[in-house]
Symmetry: C3
Subunit: 139 residues, 3 copies
């Protein structure tokens, strides 16, 4: 059993930038030489999230619109009293979407569906340089 780690670095373009990182994670799985196990994908920071989606232009608009309906940017957030940085909604969205995703690896491949991509979701209100940890455990 081995552990293999790599980081993905991203420069994001503000709220709500959704970036397909499937190819990066697949490359890291290959680099690991691990055939059977798991890949844990974790975004560092409290205003971002990892999930899966069919990565197509429609859903890249639908996800931000759903976030805006559920957690409106112009609602009052008490986070503002602490930092005055206008991203209270970003933090709340991140707590609901969570920063981690775990995908099985079978025979050297992630067990994703054909239309199921791994995405980094930028929830902060400005461009950010981001780090995603990919931690692979297996044989």
């Amino acid at each position: 059993m081995r552990v293999y780690s790599e980081e993905i670095h991203l420069s994001t373009r503000g709220e709500v930038d959704i970036i397909d990182i499937t190819g990066d994670v697949e490359r890291i799985v290959k680099n690991s030489g691990i055939s059977n196990g798991i890949a844990v994908i974790f975004c560092v920071g409290s205003t971002c999230a990892i999930s899966t989606v069919e990565y197509e232009p429609g859903l890249k608009r639908d996800i931000p619109e759903a976030l805006e309906r559920l957690f409106p940017r112009d609602h009052y957030y008490h986070h503002e009293e602490t930092w005055h940085d206008g991203n209270g909604h970003s933090h709340v969205r991140a707590t609901f979407l969570k920063p981690d995703l775990t995908v099985p690896i079978l025979d050297g491949d992630l067990t994703l569906g054909t239309w199921q991509q791994i995405v980094f979701i930028e929830l902060d209100v400005r461009n950010r340089d981001r780090k995603v940890i990919v931690q692979i455990l297996g044989l």
Copy 2:
């Protein structure tokens, strides 16, 4: 340390079918012979999710009703422009609920509460044949 894999196959009955897969996962843990480690449960596809719930008839109605309030089926989704298949809300719901769940295994048992079952949630608008990967790592 070992890795053990099995698949669960499900025939789902449309939107929002919630299926208790706890017994299947427990059986796979036994088959693995692994006493201490983790079980990763992952649904293949971009319109389904894995979570936990107290599996009783009331909540089997409350979860779909909450999904409908938060992500209404008759809202306009841009996904429709790509595929015209009427399941934009299914995809958005799946991105929020996510396809993975990781449960510790201690002394051969999942560490679930008495009223905490593992469920597959069908979010697509039609019956589907589904595959759930159960990946077990441990000793």
Copy 3:
């Protein structure tokens, strides 16, 4: 490769108590002696959740307010027909937020951001004694 387990015990103060357990998880990582791997944090029960948040007083109010907007306590839940215990919204919230979180461990440390804490979220309507399993796998 080794597996190391510890439990965290919490006495929670009703709905929606958000408790920072980062220090507990860090201590357990140290106790494990594992330098590279993962920590799986899992709350036992169907009315609680684990996630991450910047743990500051504003967001400790914003998260409960968002939960109340999305899953109102006074909405009618069919769960009531089964148990008459007034916590249908607690269960629905828990299914959406999920009970698990997986964080990579690199060089003996969790890969959290500076402002990213691990939290237990009490979703039930009363004080509870809670158990959180921390399962560590790695080298």
